[in-house]
């Protein structure tokens, strides 16, 4: 279990400066997803929502097109200071290489990085809303909230039943799929709108693709419900050096997803969409 959730934003578990060489001890498949578990005896317990930069110890940079080269950012699915779990979906050369790893293989990992989620204010009900592989940081958050005696409603959206198999990573969750092959046919944001209509004394924790997060952000803004959104962005380093992962802020200027986030209070964000990206 991680350290107790901080009461407000800005808190983080510091990362050891050294990349750790970890041994993969378990690989399990949940439909379209792979969960990799590694022994991490020197890893401090992360906050839910923090992330790591990860590369395979071998054959990283020798694949097709000589990629991957840079490490990849992953939210921590679960971690307890002895073992860390990551959620993978094979979508490119980096995730493909990591999905190939088997027990006994090596991982290079830097983290925990970034700012995680903070605790629900007052007696607001926590509603966790995830899309696809973006469900990862919500698993640890749900564990944490339930362990602290709080309620934690989990709403997850997936493409289809194969992906919805990932919902089994949660103590309990309600599911929507695009094709109706599992759970409700429709968008997870529709489940969220119904949940908020039922009881608006809530805080929303969101992570998922940009269009989903933008819908969550706009909905919560309209209903004046606080939300914390964990953003994803392409990044080279994960610790504030490259300035590649910026997101525009409502107050003007940019924030770095890696060091100022990845979790942001929704009211600080101008939009969850990249410039030119349609909802």
């Amino acid at each position: 279990m991680s350290a107790a959730l901080p009461p407000d934003g800005g808190s983080r578990t510091l990362a050891p400066l050294e990349r750790r060489l970890l041994e993969v001890v378990e690989r399990r498949e949940h439909g379209a997803y792979v969960v990799l578990a590694a022994e991490d005896p020197d890893g401090p317990a992360p906050q839910p929502g923090q992330f790591c930069m990860v590369a395979a110890a071998e054959r990283w940079g020798a694949g097709a097109d000589e990629r991957p080269f840079l490490p990849r950012a992953f939210s921590v699915l679960r971690a307890d200071g002895k073992r860390i779990e990551l959620l993978l979906e094979d979508v490119g050369p980096g995730t493909r290489r990591l999905c190939e790893l088997r027990p006994g293989d090596g991982l290079r990992l830097l983290g925990p990085l970034g700012r995680g989620f903070s605790a629900p204010p007052g007696d607001r009900r926590a509603i966790l809303c995830g899309g696809g592989v973006g469900m990862a940081p919500l698993a640890m958050l749900q564990d944490e909230l339930l362990a602290g005696g709080r309620d934690a409603v989990v709403l997850l959206g997936f493409r289809d039943a194969e992906h919805a198999a990932g919902a089994k990573l949660f103590a309990r969750a309600r599911v929507a799929t695009d094709d109706g092959s599992a759970g409700r046919r429709g968008l997870v944001t529709e489940l969220l709108a119904e949940e908020l209509a039922r009881d608006p004394v809530a805080i929303v924790y969101g992570c998922g693709p940009p269009a989903m997060l933008e819908t969550v952000r706009a909905l919560c803004e309209r209903l004046e419900i606080p939300a914390q959104l964990a953003l994803e962005a392409g990044m080279a380093c994960g610790f504030g050096a490259c300035y590649g992962c910026v997101v525009p802020l409502r107050e003007g200027g940019n924030a770095r997803v890696c060091v100022d986030g990845p979790v942001f209070d929704a009211e600080r964000l101008a939009s969850c969409l990249a410039p030119g990206e349609a909802a």
């Binding site: 990629r67 840079l70 610790f239 300035y243 992962c245």
Partner: protein, 295 residues
């Protein structure tokens, strides 16, 4: 054990520094705490590029993973001169190594104002000029033309007694001629290479640019061979010390840059992959220079 090295009158603990814009010592303290100060990977710290006015940087996407490297179009986001002096400088001055401030202007007057302001700060040990900025009249990089570059260094040289390092652009016909012009105008050192101008096609196959700014700069192992050739060409033509960089990721690469004529080496893109890359390069270099001690 690393040997101290003299560079432009500065006493440095070893030969490995960072490339400008590839390590944010302030952000690193937020992420790693005091450990990054206690175990600072570089013998000097080079700031990211500071401009007269604040810059937001380029629209995303800003990064593209290239074969054996990356293309960036970050666009030099920074707080501007006043923001740097008030906010960043006190924190950077607390680092355990000498501070080099990198500045860029689009006119000689802008560069002069930056150099004068930085010269007034005792916390800064040296000034590096980023001359990879397009000239507002010609559109050419200030550092692409030996005559333009020579004129610029001529104008700002009298404004500071601090060591003046000119960061050369590789996007020029004859980098050694530019280096000679910098030396003739009074530069104390040159550093190279900056990133190679590069294009990343959108993965959707439309042929349009992936990067928000259209083009970017290529770095990483992909540019190492080019860097070694340019370091050697420049070192053969100037007497002033050379800071060599471009794809350096190990002690062996650092040794190659030193063999090509570099006095110091800088680690850039490799620090993105590993915050302790600078330390790893230094230890690797030590092991090559003192094979017995390392055994």
């Amino acid at each position: 054990m690393s040997e101290a090295v003299r560079f432009c009158g500065l006493e440095l603990d070893h030969r490995v520094i960072n490339a400008s814009g590839t390590f944010d010592a302030i952000a690193a303290q937020r992420v790693f705490g005091d450990e990054i100060v206690l175990r600072f990977p570089f013998a000097a710290f080079v700031s990211k590029t500071i401009t007269l006015e604040p810059r937001a940087g380029n629209p995303p996407p800003r990064l593209y993973e290239a074969p054996a490297g990356m293309i960036n179009s970050i666009g030099l986001p920074n707080r501007g001169l006043l923001g740097y002096l008030e906010h960043d400088l006190p924190q950077l001055a607390a680092l355990p190594v000498p501070l080099v401030t990198n500045v860029m202007g689009s006119t000689a007057d802008e560069v002069a104002r930056l150099v004068e302001a930085i010269d007034a700060r005792a916390e800064v040990a040296a000034i590096e000029l980023n001359v990879s900025c397009p000239n507002v009249e010609t559109g050419l990089d200030l550092g692409a033309d030996p005559r333009l570059l020579g004129r610029l260094v001529d104008e700002v040289r009298p404004l500071t007694g601090k060591p003046l390092i000119v960061k050369l652009t590789p996007n020029t016909a004859d980098v050694a001629a530019v280096a000679q012009a910098a030396e003739a105008a009074g530069a104390d050192a040159v550093s190279l290479i900056n990133t190679l101008r590069a294009f990343a096609a959108h993965p959707d196959g439309s042929g349009r640019a992936w990067l928000g700014a259209g083009t970017g700069g290529l770095s990483g192992p992909a540019v190492r061979a080019v860097a070694l050739a340019q370091i050697a060409a420049v070192s053969a033509r100037v007497e002033i010390p050379v800071v060599g960089m471009g794809g350096i990721a190990s002690g062996r690469h650092a040794r190659q840059a030193i063999d090509a004529g570099a006095t110091l080496v800088a680690v850039g893109t490799e620090s993105f992959r590993d915050p302790l890359a600078g330390e790893r390069v230094r230890l690797g270099l030590d092991a090559l220079e003192h094979p017995r001690a390392a055994r």
